[in-house]
């Protein structure tokens, strides 16, 4: 029953938060509900480690045969922990002075609830419903508190996301109509449909044009949620839905998909080099990282898959750290354009130290969480074909290049004289400290997280995808 609590609690707290109007009150409420949610998730993780499988089923609509059926396995719980931690960071990091904070935090909590539901759901319809439900809060957050070009970005974002979810709906209906076991030919069709939906959400190369604008225009908490957790929904889609309902499709086209993923890796890394805005660099870098994760998921080796799931967690952590630092800089200097930034290191060594650690994490520097994931993923790709590993490895080099360019543009140099003083508040110091420690901690002791991610249940679905 705790699963239901985990899923419904964010929605309830979101509704309550809509009625709060005072800045302090709504932020306090958001913090409280995020921590309670975190507690619930960790408690269910504890229960899971005891029981091995949590599940709950309640009939909802008999006529369509849709039941509220939630069942959780290792990697889904790992994602739920993720989608408990990232909103916590988002709420902690968001400064309280913004227009009508009540609905702002409400939407954030609503998105968290949708994500929890998605990660825990065990039947296809629920998967689709939560998949679409997660688009709405991000759309409204973008519209309510977005940047200057928010209208155009919002339309592109919605059209892309909903086109993806229609493809998912089509595939889902096909599977539903053919009663679960799909013919070989059918599996190819279903695979393509699911792949379009997943490729738009991850995003992969040709479907990514919504990502940079959305990352740039949304305010930082939404970017954290979108970059940190929403993109993982796509990867989870691969694990949960594609590999179970269209395994043959996955077999035939895994090379093509890996090829496309590698194109998006190289494309993302090379474009991140020439971006002029802080968040666009993050957007393209996460395009590259997500491409690598998707490729290793399709590699079919258990190490590759486990590495990519572990990397989902570490990438979320790194992205959240980067965006938080971006937000801190934005609050004090009012701009995130790389040309106008610089010289922050001399004003705040702590911030630059954290920024350096997070960068090292995101480019896969040993002793950080990125390295463990990258090595396992590259190993997964290598076992498919050495060439893939080399090409994907290029992203390490390019990654170092654009991340160091970012570090240098933001932190080093003299910087313009009118840069304000950079004294970080206590909450920011603690938050960034926690991120830094956990990045290095996950890098040095990854085993507890890796064990967490390979429960026995994963094995048999693992067998289905290793054919």
């Amino acid at each position: 029953m705790i699963l239901l609590g985990v899923i419904l609690f964010p929605f309830l707290s979101a509704i309550v938060s809509f009625f709060l109007h005072s800045e302090k009150g709504s932020k306090a409420w958001a913090l409280l509900s995020v921590f309670i949610e975190g507690f619930l998730v960790f408690f269910s993780a504890y229960l899971y480690s005891q029981a091995g499988y949590l599940s709950v089923e309640i009939p909802w609509i008999q006529t369509l045969g849709i039941h509220l059926h939630f069942g959780v396995r290792g990697f889904e719980l790992w994602m739920m922990i993720l989608s408990a931690v990232v909103p916590a960071m988002a709420v902690v990091s968001s400064s309280s002075k913004r227009a009508n904070p009540g609905s702002y935090y409400g939407l954030l909590l609503g998105m968290q609830g949708a994500l929890m539901g998605l990660f825990a759901c065990a039947n296809l319809f629920l998967f689709y419903i939560f998949w679409e439900l997660s688009i709405l809060p991000s759309f409204f957050l973008l519209m309510g508190w977005g940047g200057l070009r928010k209208e155009k970005t919002a339309v592109t974002y919605v059209v892309y996301s909903l086109a993806g979810s229609f493809a998912l709906l089509a595939g889902l209906l096909y599977v539903f109509m053919s009663g679960g076991q799909v013919s070989v030919y059918g599996q190819m069709g279903v695979f393509i449909l699911f792949f379009i939906a997943v490729a738009i959400k991850i995003p992969l190369w040709p479907f990514h044009s919504w990502q940079p604008d959305t990352y740039e225009q949304t305010d930082h908490a939404t970017t954290m949620m979108v970059a940190g957790v929403l993109s993982k929904m796509g990867l989870l889609g691969i694990l949960k839905v594609m590999l179970l309902f269209a395994p043959l499709g996955a077999v035939f086209s895994s090379d093509k998909v890996i090829g496309l993923a590698i194109v998006s890796i190289l494309y993302g890394s090379s474009l991140a080099l020439v971006q002029g805005h802080f968040k666009r660099v993050i957007a393209y870098s996460s395009l590259a990282h997500m491409g690598l994760m998707a490729a290793s998921l399709f590699s079919g080796t258990s190490e590759g898959i486990q590495g990519s799931i572990f990397q989902m967690g570490s990438h979320a952590l790194n992205v959240v750290g980067l965006i938080w630092i971006g937000h801190i800089i934005y609050e004090r200097t009012g701009t995130l354009k790389l040309a106008e930034l610089g010289g922050i290191r001399s004003r705040s060594p702590f911030l630059s130290a954290v920024f350096l650690v997070v960068i090292l994490g995101s480019i896969g520097f040993p002793l950080t969480n990125g390295f463990v994931g990258e090595t396992l993923m590259l190993f997964g790709l290598y076992s498919v074909h050495p060439l893939f590993a080399i090409l994907a490895g290029l992203s390490l080099v390019l990654g170092a290049w654009y991340m160091m360019r970012l570090f240098q543009a933001v932190m080093l140099g003299k910087g313009n004289s009118n840069l304000p003083e950079f004294n970080l508040t206590w909450s920011e110091r603690i938050g960034l400290g926690v991120i830094m420690v956990s990045i290095v901690g996950m890098g040095i002791f990854p085993q507890p997280f890796l064990d967490f991610v390979t429960p026995s249940s994963f094995k048999e679905s693992d067998s289905s995808c290793t054919q």
Binding site: P206, S209, S270, V274, Q275, R345, S383, P386, W401, L450
Partner: protein, 593 residues
């Protein structure tokens, strides 16, 4: 005893790093520096005791890192003569340079962070040297790269230094990619990168696979030890403070490549093609480094190129199997190159940052101590008999002689060139007329002179540390003496006397080619970096906008499709009824189909 000793060696620099960073603001200025020196000294003592006391080699398992599927990795320390000797050398030379840096960096505002990075560097170097698996070594490998980035870009206010640091880091990353690729192959074939496992099963693999794996290791070594393709970062790395150049870009980090090849000699012996490549690369780098060093004006750049050519020596030695000679040369090179760099540091310190040797000269009288020390260093590097350089270089020459004639001849030419440019450097800085205007150079503080003295002693005595078994004294001794005298004389004749050096710059095509380092940097920029950036800018410009246009285009096509129907809705009820009638007509006609 050994367990405690080894863990202590590793732990000291790490504790030093954490102490300095955490208590940085609290400690008064010099204490941070002393803390760093103490920790490195502690590491040196414990490494030294372990080296002296116990003979047998062992591996100490610390904790296992991760274990996924059939891939596993563990942190553990390998204690054998090679790793012990390397760790003693690192901590010893490192300690001396720490002491020197106390004086050199005295007036810098961020002294604590400097020494913190120094300690971190020593820690990562020890991890690199002491780990018992390639993955552990990889941690040290990249850690050292990071510290070199931090230290090269230490004075980060000036934009050029930051660019140099970034260039060094990215170039190292390219090398690391090769190394990682080799690691992936090992993990794929054996599931672990433990030396014991790899070296036993290594030869079992097919020649092709082994060549690929060793090629990966070679690329790693090339990236780290600044061999031919990936060397352009080393001269720019001189942007860092001189102690950094001394420690990282002379004594320790750059030798990591040689250590890697030496450590995995089993694999290299199994892949003849790669060893040939190693020799070729080593020799080519040696020649290239020596040639360019002939014309350089910046004192640190000359030393950098000489380091590069000496590294070429070592790599080629490792290439044709002379691992012990390569390691011996590496040790002696560490001593006299560190000595030369620190002496150069003294000179620069004295002339308040002036690095162009054409603006120096006649410092013999002003900086007597530095002159003596610099002279010892030069004689050592040139290979003058009593000094250590002679023994180690000629050991390599002897092995080269046994390996192949051409290699031997080329290496001899390189040693001649190296002696020429070292003497040129010596005479331009210390002899001739004083061209440094009204600066009045002064000797460094005592704390800078003690390490110099110790290093000078080591440079002279270093030769006997390792035993030249077969007496190579006879013919080679004579030849080297003649060559030395000859090149010394020529160098003195050109640069020694009170002559206006600037006018004598030859303007020939060859000179300009050498001066611009065979335009290698510009070639990289124009062939690889430039087009890549313009490609991504182009993509960013046009492709992204094209993708962005996709939905606008689809919207316009929907509008275009709908336009005739929109015109049909023209507001006149007559037309509406006409549409209805046509609809009925179609229905009735449909009835017949």
């Amino acid at each position: 005893m050994m367990l405690f000793g080894m863990i202590a060696t590793l732990a000291f620099p790490l504790i030093g790093f954490f102490l300095i960073t955490l208590l940085g603001r609290v400690l008064p200025r010099p204490v941070g520096g002393w803390l760093a020196c103490v920790s490195v000294a502690g590491a040196f003592i414990s490494a030294g005791t372990v080296l002296l006391t116990c003979e047998s080699s062992a591996t100490i398992g610390l904790f296992n890192w991760f274990e996924v599927g059939n891939v596993s990795a563990h942190f553990s320390i390998l204690v054998d003569s090679l790793s012990l000797w390397m760790s003693v050398m690192i901590t010893g030379v490192g300690g001396l340079i720490h002491v020197y840096a106390l004086g050199y960096m005295k007036d810098d505002v961020r002294l604590n962070s400097f020494f913190a990075y120094f300690n971190l560097f020593v820690f990562f170097m020890l991890v690199l040297v002491l780990s018992d698996s390639f993955l552990g070594m990889f941690i040290g490998w990249e850690g050292v790269g990071l510290c070199s980035y931090l230290l090269i870009g230490f004075w980060y206010e000036t934009h050029a230094y930051a660019i140099a640091a970034k260039k060094a880091f990215v170039m190292n990353r390219i090398g690391d990619l090769g190394f990682l690729f080799a690691i992936l192959m090992m993990l794929f074939f054996w599931g672990t990168t433990q030396f014991s496992v790899v070296f036993i099963q290594g030869l079992g693999l097919g020649a092709g696979v082994l060549t690929a794996m060793t090629m990966g290791l070679l690329i790693g070594a090339v990236g780290k030890s600044a061999q031919i393709p990936l060397f352009t970062w080393l001269p720019d790395a001189m942007a860092g403070p001189t102690p950094v150049s001394a420690l990282i870009h002379a004594a320790t980090m750059v030798t990591a490549g040689v250590y890697l090849i030496a450590r995995s000699h089993v694999l290299f012996s199994g892949a003849p093609l790669t060893s040939l490549m190693v020799v070729g690369l080593g020799v080519a780098t040696a020649v290239f480094g020596a040639l360019v060093a002939l014309v350089q004006r910046d004192i640190k750049k000359v030393l950098a190129y000489s380091t590069m050519s000496q590294l070429g020596y070592m790599v080629s030695a490792a290439g044709f199997g002379a691992y012990s000679a390569a390691l011996f040369h590496m040790t002696t090179h560490a001593f006299f190159k560190a000595l030369l760099f620190l002496a150069a540091g003294n000179v620069i310190h004295g002339l308040h940052g002036e690095q162009d040797i054409f603006k120096m000269g006649g410092l013999r009288k002003k900086l007597p101590f530095t002159f003596v020390v610099f002279l010892i260093g030069t004689l050592a590097i040139v290979g003058c008999p009593p000094f250590s350089g002679f023994f180690s270089k000629d050991a390599i020459l002897a092995e080269a002689f046994a390996y192949s004639r051409t290699v031997f001849v080329v290496l001899c030419v390189v040693s001649v060139m190296s002696s020429f440019y070292m003497f040129r450097l010596l005479f331009l800085t210390f002899f001739g007329n004083a061209r440094y205007g009204e600066k009045h150079p002064h000797e460094g503080a005592l704390v800078m002179q003690i390490p110099l003295a110790i290093l000078a002693v080591l440079a002279t005595v270093g030769g006997c540390l390792d035993w030249p078994q077969e007496s190579i004294l006879t013919p080679v001794l004579g030849v080297t003496l003649v060559v030395l005298a000859l090149s010394g004389g020529v160098a003195y004749f050109i640069f020694g006397k009170q002559v206006d050096v600037l006018a004598k710059q030859p303007v020939s095509m060859g000179y300009r080619m050498l001066w611009n380092k065979f335009y290698v940097d510009e070639v990289y920029q124009r062939i690889i970096v430039g087009p890549f950036l313009s490609l991504s800018r182009g993509l960013n410009q046009y492709f992204e906008i094209f993708l962005g246009k996709l939905d606008v285009v689809s919207l316009r096509s929907v509008r275009w499709v709908g336009y005739p129907f929109k015109k049909m809705q023209d507001g006149n009820s007559g037309t509406y009824i006409l549409v209805m009638t046509v609809g009925i007509l179609c229905l009735l006609v449909g009835l017949f189909l």
